[in-house]
Amino acid sequence: MTKPVVIVGASMGGLRAAESLRRFGYTGAITVIGDENWAPYNRPPLSKEVLAGDVVSHETVAFPQRAATADVGWVLGHRVDKADLAHNSVTTEDGEVFEYSHLIIATGLRPKRQVYPNNIHAGRHIIRTLDDAMGLREALKPGARVVVLGAGFIGCETAATARKLGCEVTIVAPGTVPMLRPLGTELAHELQRRQEAEGVRFLMKRSVADLVGESHITAVTLDDGTELPCDVFIEAIGSLPNTEWLEGNDLDISDGLLCDHNLRGVKVSGGSWNNVWGVGDVVRFPNPVFDDTPRRVEHWNIPSECAKYVGNAIATDSTAAPFRPIPSFWSDQFEVHILAFGLLALADRNKLVEGTIDGDCVFEYYRGDKLVGAAGIGLRSVVQGYRKNFES
């Protein structure tokens, strides 16, 4: 009997990879191994509407399961801690060995953590998993003093949600404006303005130097010495790829899993593995829509796009055209709904093409003469229209 396709990581990327294998006609065995106890669920609501609700439960975020993947073997609550690519096997923490015909790596990211001189834990939160969100929801009581470290999308969304729940919210971040890199100066400033209008306070160009409290956080100390009272401290300072379990193999995991144009894992010694594939947030891949530089793209549509490509490649044993997904993302903060296509962070300039900045609006993003993205507040049909600019 041929060995199964083994997928490590049981989140959106892992689920979509299994579905895609079946859709493209692979009929052999599939095993998905994941360290969370939950069946795959959708993460974006965890900083938005689900966190804003009364209860955070698996039911509210679980992905529907399809009949076509009913026979997939799910091994949940088990962390893979070793891989031996030369012998086509992975091993879980408890010592179980899984041999594979193909390995699909979909282990995603985890939040970066800070270490403080007074490194107490009670009152500290991150937000990546359902368990994180359940814990945070409990803490977000009306009147709670919340400090969010980091002004990226997840930090800003979580701040908006906490504010809606009646908390006193301050964002502390080293940059000049929130979400600057992904959005560019104009939209970033405007989002800060709209957040402030809702009562979120921004302390930019600041960092947290230490925590105050004995058994539970009571305040944070900033780098300028100011002490901010704090009941709930949320670290949202970016992520690290989960690739430690792949160490010791001939595989480039210097910044996420480096993949080639066909999403195959790249060897440090040159060339690629022909049965090791990457899917989702963990992958650093080149995208000919833009250029040849491999990048990690932490947008929700990427795991599904990767899964479609890899499932097809394995099921039909063909990798003719290179992988060239059109990145897209959205963000909801208060009544502001942002939708974007492309890689806005590549742009060196942008221009307003519709609407006004204080209302609904659309921006085009350029690197030199080349359009690299479009983003809007509202005006979704217009933004959707830009997708065709990136199609081959």
Binding site: R16, E19, N42, P44, P45, E49, V61, F63, P64, R66, W300, N301, S304, S328, W330, D332, H337, L339, G378, L379, R380, S381, Q384, R387
Partner: protein, 63 residues
């Protein structure tokens, strides 16, 4: 025939579904989602693709 339901309390009118199943979903002139509640069986694949790309996971096929 397949029956489609969109949870309009979840839908944020992003229009990702429109791309996958344009015969079933569209954004109207106010940028609000409109959809047909039933579709031919031949649309099953497209509607499943729309379900997958919906950021709010708001689309359901009802039996």
């Amino acid at each position: 025939m397949i029956k489609i339901n969109v949870d309009m309390t979840k839908c944020q009118h992003y229009g990702m579904c429109v791309f996958e199943a344009p015969n079933v979903f569209k954004l109207n002139t106010d940028d609000k989602l409109e959809y047909t509640a039933t579709a031919e069986d031949s649309e099953q694949g497209n509607v499943e693709a729309a379900i997958d790309v919906c950021p709010m996971q708001a689309i359901f096929i009802v039996d």
